[in-house]
């Protein structure tokens, strides 16, 4: 029954003697909308960096579709169907919307194919594909404008569409809703639901609980580098460890404010 697209096994990672991740294990089911939450400094982004190959774990395995990703650099992981967006938008500010989205196709290109003299042929099909995807998500092309001139909410959506251009199986989203207002968050949620309906598995980190609640079914909770909860989001509020990690801090901060 269980068919995980991503399996994490006992991932541990330290930075300069500080244990950031301590034997983290969980599965992300194929087609799921899975959230990873936890207080600041819990190790969520580090775990994302381990999954996408920016950091190597000291211990443990990252398995994508049952295959160990050890030793595969990040730019090759994207070819294996793993794509990610970043906490801080990493679009190319001086390129156009279309060019940024088309950059997402580069992971699919063979190097020799790309350097063939004046290889313009694939450009036209790539362009049509990029325009079609942008249109299907209701994003304007903003012809002639560079990305740096566009509002933050639109840039977030463009970054998601760009990540889709690599034809991922699994999309990692690092705080997609951070910095967005309510209306922008709602359109982003609709966009991600549409992405999910196309069969792409989502694993996302976010602090915005209403957003997470309305998008995800599964949730993993981290605190101080350890996994303290992994299960359906509906049971989250019944879990004592989670209540302690979140509410315990709230109580303390309320007292100190008083």
């Amino acid at each position: 029954m269980s068919d995980p697209i991503l399996r994490l096994e006992d991932i541990s990672k330290s930075f300069g003697g500080v244990r950031v991740l301590e034997k983290v294990s969980f599965d992300v089911e194929r087609g799921a909308r899975h959230a990873l939450i936890g207080p600041n400094g819990a190790g969520k982004t580090t775990l994302f960096n381990v999954i996408s190959g920016i950091h190597d774990p000291e211990q443990g395995k990252v398995l994508l579709e049952g295959k160990d990703l050890k030793g595969i650099p990040s730019r090759k992981r994207i070819k294996k169907g793993l794509s990610r967006s970043f906490q801080n938008i990493r679009l190319m500010p001086h390129l156009s919307v279309l060019e940024n989205v088309m950059l997402g196709q580069h992971s699919r290109f063979q190097f020799l194919d790309m350097v063939k003299p004046l290889n313009f042929s694939a450009k036209s099909t790539g362009k049509a594909e990029a325009i079609e995807t942008l249109n299907s998500f209701g994003i304007d092309l903003y012809e002639g404008q560079t990305v740096s001139s566009l509002p933050y909410g639109i840039r977030k959506k463009i970054e998601v569409v760009r990540a889709l251009m690599s034809e991922p199986q699994l999309l990692l989203l690092d705080e997609p809703a951070a910095g967005l207002n309510t209306a922008e968050t709602n359109t982003l949620r609709d966009l991600l639901k549409e992405v999910s309906n196309r069969g792409i598995t989502l694993l996302l980190v976010d602090h915005d609980m209403p957003f997470v609640n309305s998008l995800c079914e599964q949730v993993s909770v981290m605190n101080f580098g350890q996994l303290i909860y992994d299960g359906p989001i509906s049971d989250l509020k019944k879990d004592e460890k989670v209540l302690e990690a979140y509410l315990g801090m709230d109580e303390k901060s309320e007292r100190s404010n008083a």
């Binding site: 090759k76 990610r84 001086h94 580069h106 699919r108 790309m114 290889n119």
Partner: protein, 308 residues
Amino acid sequence: MLFEQVLQQIINGLMLGSIYISVAVAFTLAIGILNFLNFTIPALYMLAGMVGWSLSQYGVPFGLSGPINWAFALFIGIICAILASLLVERFTYRYFKMKHGDATEHAIPLVSSLGFLLIFEYIILIAHGSDTRGFSTAFSNLDWRIGGFIISIPQLLSLVFSILIVAGLSVLLKRSKVGRALRAIAENPDAATIMGIDVDRIVPIVFILIGFLCGISAAIFAINYHEVSPYMGDHVGTKAIAAMVIGGLGSVWGAIAGGLIVGLSETLSIYFFGASSAQITVWGLLLVLLVFRPTGLFGHNAIGKGKF
């Protein structure tokens, strides 16, 4: 009479500018895409010229061939410049990127490229001495005279050719997949890597283009001015850096404008104030321009970031 002489100098200046254009664009590519002030560029230019001269004079070393046709010799000279440029990539840029994760944050690659400049120069000095050598080609004296003015046809063709090459490069950067990847690397190499762009294999393309541009420029110089020397790169290098900055860092079209402006101010300065005044005029102009337009004529605020 004075007016006519000045006009002739303007024509000569524009022709001289065609030499600077390609070299300035080579500097611009290195700075704009890799954020790397590549000091080997003048040596690549000199290498193409001297190798071309040597082959046309003596043929392949160790007596393997007789003197080679000048055009083919210059072609091999250009290939040598490209190979030398790849050597520089391997031991300056790539080496430091492997060692430190990022080549551009360190001044070391700049110093290494300066080292390569001197090594290449002195290898040629040992091989051929320091004399300026004459370079004879099939069309030495093809001039076009209109209304008392002399326009050298090879020079005119060279100017057109330089501009065409730069235009082609501009199209390559704007429209091709490689160009898009290069512009992405210029903006953010780390994000480009994560998007699946093979930065380590794309970066050598920049160095191939740099070698090619330097080689072409040296061939144009040899054909038009009929001489080469181990020091020919030094004169062109400083002018080309000035042309790049005047045009605006990271702007390919700016490098064309800058190259022509430098060529013009050089010939006019020599005409009015004597031969030694050229550098003072060019660099004085540059300093004054930078006070009023710190980004150069066509440059942007973020230095060298993804403009072209």
